[in-house]
């Protein structure tokens, strides 16, 4: 039995202390859960262990011997393997399963050999797959596999090399229930072969099903390490939360009008299942859920980006049939998407061009000629009302900070003046000051009688700003709560699959 110890690990990034004197220990032959809210530092800690950073302080010991890990190669040589959540980035789709499993051999162990021996390769890969009881043919192309199968191929690759510790970073988030069971069978199998497994997950019931130990992190620090049989879901949630941050949320006066948006039995092709919700004028609705719960999918489906496979959406009592976002905007909907740089703003365009992108028609004269004076005037006005910190309205957006970019992504919908505003993680990567401005902006919109959908995995924010909320778990709205009566503990309970 080998012992892994990370002692007194600290790491800083510009402006953030991501890990603060964390000491973590794990053993082979056990499944160790690592859990914490978003930004608690669990991914950072595992990145340190797998050699993604070299500028940390503290020591890593394996079996009492000091191990120097400053590059992914060091980590591999110590037998530490990691399977990331985005499996596609680590696989080569048009090679076979066998080649992918033995990729390391193919790249590094060929020496002066120029020809690939296909028979021994597939034989070796098949043996590995059989040992792990994975029913995938070695000769299949990876591009033909399901997500769950790809994950297993990656695990097989990790195990095929020397592997003492295997880190699984949120492996179950994209998996269905039966696929999760299959994964757990393999995890138990590996455990029996004395591999140490570090299991990062947001789903507490799963952790209590498969893990032996649990370590909880919060704000870059290790809070507790316990034996799973000696703790409970409620205790873990308590430890994850600690004391909540005092945030200044604007006061909601709660003048709620007619139903504006009504969703009945909505499903999409992938994630969303049989979802119901209503939003009234002047109301802020929270969509609370952890990463992978389907918040983004819900927002995009409402906005016409993905096809609805079942159910109906009504806007002001009229049934909506959206084919694309263009129609959604014309019907009076607005979306501030999660991936700001990719989807929300035009980094190479000026602040003014960004602000008017959603409703340029307002700034045109005859024959669609642009009225640049009107455009500039409005841009300057929005810059002032939203307090966007920019040298001028002509500055390219890529030169602004995250908070200011987000204000611009929201600002463009103020010009367009919609009825329904959908916010998907609007405070992601935004500093505290800008956060407060954004909350005030959203509540001001509600006061003007707009219907607002606020999707986030930051539960304190949802509790601070919404009137009513739905908890999302695995694409379903599992619970509807009045915000005034809800607690963070409750949200965490339902969003991790509790009933």
């Amino acid at each position: 039995m080998a012992l892994l110890e990370m002692k007194d690990i600290s790491i800083e990034f510009p402006g953030v202390k991501a890990l603060n004197h964390v000491s973590f220990a794990s053993e082979t032959g056990r499944v160790h859960a690592l859990i914490g809210a978003n930004g608690a530092g669990k991914s950072t800690l595992m990145k340190v262990l797998s050699g993604a950073y070299s500028h940390y302080t503290g020591e890593i010991h394996l079996d009492g011997r000091k191990a120097v890990i400053t590059s992914p190669r060091d980590a591999l040589e110590e037998g530490i393997q990691i399977v990331h959540q985005e499996v596609d980035t680590a696989l080569i789709p048009y090679l076979t399963v066998g080649e992918n499993i033995l990729l390391h051999d193919l790249v590094n162990e060929m020496g002066r050999k120029q020809l690939v021996g296909w028979k021994p390769l597939h034989k070796k890969a098949t043996r590995i797959l059989e040992e792990m009881n994975i029913s995938v043919s070695s000769k299949m192309l990876v591009s033909e596999l399901t997500l769950a199968q790809k994950q297993m191929v990656l695990i097989a690759r990790a195990v095929s090399a020397q592997c003492r510790f295997l880190i699984l970073d949120e492996p179950t988030a994209p998996l269905s229930h039966s696929e999760t069971n299959e994964l757990f069978r393999i995890v138990r199998n590996l455990k029996a072969q004395h591999v140490g497994i570090i299991f990062i997950s947001h789903r507490l019931p799963e952790i209590f099903e498969i893990c032996d130990d649990i370590t909880v992190m919060r704000n870059g620090e290790l809070v507790i390490k316990e034996n799973i049989s000696e703790t409970s879901i409620h205790r873990v949630i308590e430890q994850m939360l600690g004391k909540s941050l005092d945030e200044q949320f604007p006061f909601l006066n709660g003048k709620v009008g007619e139903i504006v948006l009504e969703v009945k039995g909505l499903s999409d092709a992938e994630k969303i299942k049989d979802l119901n919700l209503t939003v009234r004028a002047g109301e802020i609705i929270g969509i609370a859920g952890l990463v992978g719960a389907g918040k983004t999918e819900l927002c995009k489906t409402l906005f016409g980006c993905t096809k609805i496979t079942a159910g109906d959406v009504f806007l002001n009592g009229r049934k909506l049939k959206l084919k694309n976002p263009h129609q959604a905007v014309r019907q009076g909907m607005a979306l501030v998407p999660e991936e700001r740089r990719k989807e929300g703003i035009l980094v190479e365009e000026s602040v003014a061009a960004n602000l008017t992108a959603a409703n340029l028609g307002q700034f045109t004269k005859v024959f669609s000629f642009l009225d640049r004076r009107a455009e500039k005037q409005k841009a300057v006005e929005i810059i002032q009302t939203l307090g966007i910190k920019t040298p001028s309205e002509k500055t390219k957006v890529q030169n602004l900070s995250g908070g200011n970019q987000q204000k611009i992504a929201i600002g463009k919908w103020l010009i367009a003046d919609a009825d329904v505003y959908i916010f998907d993680e609007p405070t992601k990567g935004v500093d505290v000051g800008a956060k407060k401005d954004i909350f005030e902006l959203i509540s001001a919109l509600a006061k003007r009688g707009k219907a607002i959908v606020y999707a986030s995995s930051e539960f304190p924010e949802i509790l601070g700003i919404t009137n009513r909320l739905y908890v999302l778990y695995d694409g379903r709205a599992v619970k509807e709560l009045e915000t005034s009566a809800a607690t963070e503990e409750e949200l965490l309970f339902y969003s991790t699959g509790g009933r």
Partner: protein, 334 residues
């Protein structure tokens, strides 16, 4: 604190790369001036009025076709089929006169109609079937080239040509059509195309939307811009200008030679990419494309005057294109 950070981030690299930025912005113009100086020194008749007119005339077809490419580039698309569309339009226009004795309007409109059909096919395959633009237009380039060849039965169409049945073709090309390819009309058409597209891209809502789509298609879609419609429009316009180029070419040479439009593809692509950098705009733009075409035209004309053989010209033009691409992508990397 918040304000000062982005400002320094913006101004620091500028100072460092000042020399590069200067050459990026004005390099094309400077090169043109230097070339004019060199060629004039080698042969003083280079700057004479009639030679300059000659250059303008010789670049007009390239420019018109390149303007179409500029539009497809503005939505981050790419249209390789413009050369063959020009060939097809050329063949149809001349055949309408020579084979079918039609009038000028019929000749022009049938050439345009055929080109727009190509534009529709291109845009549907790219927007709906989602074939990458470069690959799809590579395929249509060959298809259209083949159609043009089949249509002319692999022969040159000209007045008084011998028909398959042994008789002479009786159709005549109208005098009005002949005017299109002559100075000043050929230059007027080119100037009109440049000005129109410059205004479209820079001063109208539609141009703004096209650049926005080219900059970030997903963000454009989520802003409610009808992305697909604009992409279709871009490929239709690209085919339209290629067709105008073919028609002008038809009028200029008064025949329809085999694959007459094909050589214009590379020159037009080069002109459009050189245009990226003109005055530091950093994106496809009509005025820059004109400057790019002028650069190529001067190079070609001057080298001919210096007795560089025509068959070596592609080396120079290819090198210019590679240099323009290097400039564009190095700039983006920064």
């Amino acid at each position: 604190m918040e304000v000062s950070k982005p400002v320094t981030a913006q101004s620091l690299p500028k100072k460092k790369f000042e020399l590069f930025d200067f050459f990026y912005k004005y390099g094309t113009i400077l090169t043109i001036l230097v070339l004019i100086g060199v060629f004039t020194a080698a042969n003083p008749s280079f700057v004479q009025g009639h030679n300059l007119m000659n250059i303008l005339r010789s670049i007009s077809i390239v420019t018109i076709i390149a303007i179409g490419i500029t539009i497809s580039l503005s939505v981050k698309g790419f249209d390789l089929s413009v050369g063959s569309v020009a060939s097809l339009s050329n063949a149809i226009a001349i055949s309408m006169f020579v084979w079918f004795s039609q009038n000028t309007a019929t000749a022009i409109f049938s050439a345009l109609a055929a080109a727009l059909m190509v534009g529709i096919i291109n845009s549907v395959m790219i927007v709906k079937v989602k074939i990458p633009d470069m690959l799809l237009t590579l395929a249509t380039m060959f298809i259209i080239q083949g159609i043009a060849l089949t249509y002319t039965k692999g022969a040159t169409i000209s007045q008084n040509m011998v028909m398959p049945d042994g008789t002479f073709a009786t159709g005549k090309i109208s005098a009005a059509f002949e005017k299109i390819g002559q100075v000043p009309w050929i230059i007027v058409i080119m100037a009109a195309a440049v000005v129109l597209v410059h205004v479209l891209l820079n001063y109208t809502k539609h141009g703004r939307y096209m650049y926005v789509i080219g900059g970030n298609e997903e963000a454009a879609r989520l802003s409610g811009i009808p992305v697909d419609k604009y992409k279709v429009a871009a490929y239709l316009l690209s085919a339209f200008f290629a067709s105008i180029g073919g028609i002008v070419l038809a009028s200029r040479v008064m025949t329809a030679e085999i694959n007459a439009g094909t050589p214009y593809l590379m020159d037009a692509v080069a002109a459009a990419f050189i245009g990226f950098s003109v005055f530091g705009s950093g994106k496809p733009n009509a005025f820059g494309t004109l400057v790019g075409a002028i650069l190529i035209g001067i190079l070609q004309n001057g080298l001919v005057m210096m007795s560089v053989p025509y068959y070596s010209m592609d080396i120079v033009k290819g090198a210019v294109l590679a240099f323009a691409l290097a400039l564009t992508y190095y700039k983006q990397k920064k």
